[in-house]
Symmetry: C2
């Protein structure tokens, strides 16, 4: 297969982890006789520094032309505490999601048996955890109208949803549940928010077309508890943008390391794959960042194009590195392996 | 001391747990020679059923005239899944908070040593956890304008904050930090939300008047992870209404039981005390609901009026019940004690 892949390394540890994912994709090309073309572009803080824009047109066009985007990470603390900053790295990511129409962020949460002892949670609590979060990614309070009054004393953000925005991701989530354990949990705050009540109405209606799937409703505050108290109760979680941001990062602690979790963002015509961890600037260029999440993002990319055997080869190589202890220090404080060595090991084992 | 206490049992298990708190307050009256006057009123689903209004005027007036309000719980599932319901129990609670000006919800999160094994988290993760959440309670997306278009296909909620709303709770939180371990963590989403950027600006400015307090900023998605990964890093957490709802319920799992956690809601002229658990309708009238959170709410009420010795007597009696295993089944599945017996035991030991 020929694939055109846009590489967006971004900020912080983004470039170094993405490089390992590319190594693995190259190993897949060789082993399975595919041809992938990689084209790289800047995004985020580095794009602001170089071009004054967190998502330059050249980058956006490259992504639009590509079959898929492989993303590193975004964000730089120098922008975070400056309430007056006019451009921010995150705007690049948000605009990219919007422009590519990536309305569904899909995050699998699974426990790696060989790392079960790394979890802050007790083994009996997390045993059997295997769920996927469908987070709406191009609507809600992230993209609603923002306002700051003239003297800078009143600020607001609008959380708005339309039936159509809810409906398209709901269908994806129901379909996913059908292929899994037939359970869908809608997380909302319908006892307070008008937008949540619309979610409940639309999702309930759509549920009628998926009679095999058991639909359950959960308030977001309760969900924040249940994900820790009893994570194995979940199969597919469906939720809006802001709740999804919080709940999915919370879910990422279950497995013991955020350095292992990948995500896919899907739209009608585009797809992007990225680790769920951030740019982790403190670890930048120290060869300590965990490349597994980025490598598993590449595996999700392969699956997206139906290359299941190839994806499985990547996953098995990752499992091997975990079992053999060829891991970065975040997973084993005594480990001597760096980002590059872990990437090499996984690539060689494909 | 003479105190006028408004009792609002509310829905579900509210009445039965509140009754235990009152038992304990009566024991305090006797032992310490105080005189408390209790006046009861309906709120929530029961108030809708009886008077068609989740917060009848008589209830609101009773609360306004009282020195403090002791609250049970609110909510009934028959309203949750009806997107067309015009009145909802929760509206009663929200209106009460707004009308009494209860802008600060204060939730202490602490681990009871005798219950450390009940936590879903490993002991080494939660050891030393002792933080307090200051959640803004009368602003933000809970109270901003709601909108549903005519054909019911687009819904929105506005999250709005003013400098003054942020400032008054920020001062409370900084003062609390000064009396504790001098650390304040502001939880927001300033990389995305205009309102969060205002929070950051205002809180940073106020921080200059509290030079001893170390001010730290954390994005809410990261906070959702950190609360589980490393809860002992926190001293005082300050956040807006919606994030506070999620984060504080999440924090409540640390101690192993939400049935143990109390909260205070404070304003200029009023104060309300309530367990953080909900109405738990499945457990209603079965004599299995844990009354400790409600009893500890009463202890917070006593502290609010400077009755520290009295509050301590309540807390010590609670500790005794936990140590002796006089607890409801949620804490010990083999326990034979019911709600009433636990309440009696605590009251007798005051
Ligand atoms: C960087 C930030 C804007 C982003 C988000 O909030 O969506 C990130 O936290 C994520 O979840 O991908
Ligand atoms: C019942 C509900 C409206 C309420 C809230 O969201 O504030 C509750 O969850 C709480 O935290 O007190």
């Amino acid at each position: 297969m020929n694939l055109n892949i846009a590489l967006l390394p971004g900020d912080g540890i983004g470039p170094e982890v993405l490089a390992q994912a590319v190594k693995c994709l190259q190993a897949v090309e060789e082993t399975f006789n595919h041809q992938f073309i990689y084209r790289e572009a800047v995004v985020g803080a580095i794009a602001i520094d170089r071009k004054g824009n967190p998502l330059p047109d050249t980058t956006l066009n490259l992504c639009k032309e590509a079959d898929a985007v492989l993303f590193g990470a975004i964000g730089d603390p120098k922008y975070d505490n400056d309430p007056n900053a006019k451009v921010r790295p995150e705007q690049g990511l948000l605009k990219l999601r919007k422009e590519l129409g990536l309305f569904a962020n899909i995050r699998p949460v699974k426990v790696f048996p060989s790392l079960i002892q790394n979890s802050p949670l007790k083994q009996e609590v997390i045993d059997g955890t295997d769920f996927t979060i469908y987070r709406e990614l191009t609507g809600g309070i992230y993209f609603g109208q923002k306002h700051l009054n003239e003297d800078g004393t009143v600020a607001s953000d609008l959380c708005e949803y339309s039936e159509q925005e809810i409906s398209r991701i709901a269908h994806l989530a129901f379909k996913a549940a059908k292929n899994r354990r037939n359970k869908l949990t809608l997380v909302d705050k319908a006892n307070v928010l008008e937008s949540s009540r619309l979610w409940r109405k639309v999702v309930t209606k759509i549920g009628e077309s998926y009679p095999d799937v058991q639909l359950e409703y959960m308030f977001v505050d309760n969900a924040a508890m249940q994900i820790i108290l009893n994570p194995s109760q979940f199969d597919v979680i469906l939720t809006e943008n802001m709740f999804g941001d919080i709940i999915s990062d919370e879910g990422s602690v279950i497995g013991g390391s955020i350095g292992l979790l990948a995500s896919a963002s899907a739209g009608e015509d585009s797809a992007m794959f990225e680790p769920i961890h951030g740019s982790y600037p403190q670890a930048k260029a120290q060869d300590i960042a965990n490349p597994i999440a980025s490598i598993l993002s590449a595996a999700m990319l392969l699956e997206h194009f139906g290359l299941y055997e190839e994806a499985m080869a990547v996953r098995e190589a990752v499992d091997k590195s975990l079992k053999k202890g060829v891991v970065t220090p975040d997973l084993d404080s005594k480990s001597q392996y760096g980002t590059n060595q872990v990437g090499d090991f996984v690539a060689e084992n494909i």
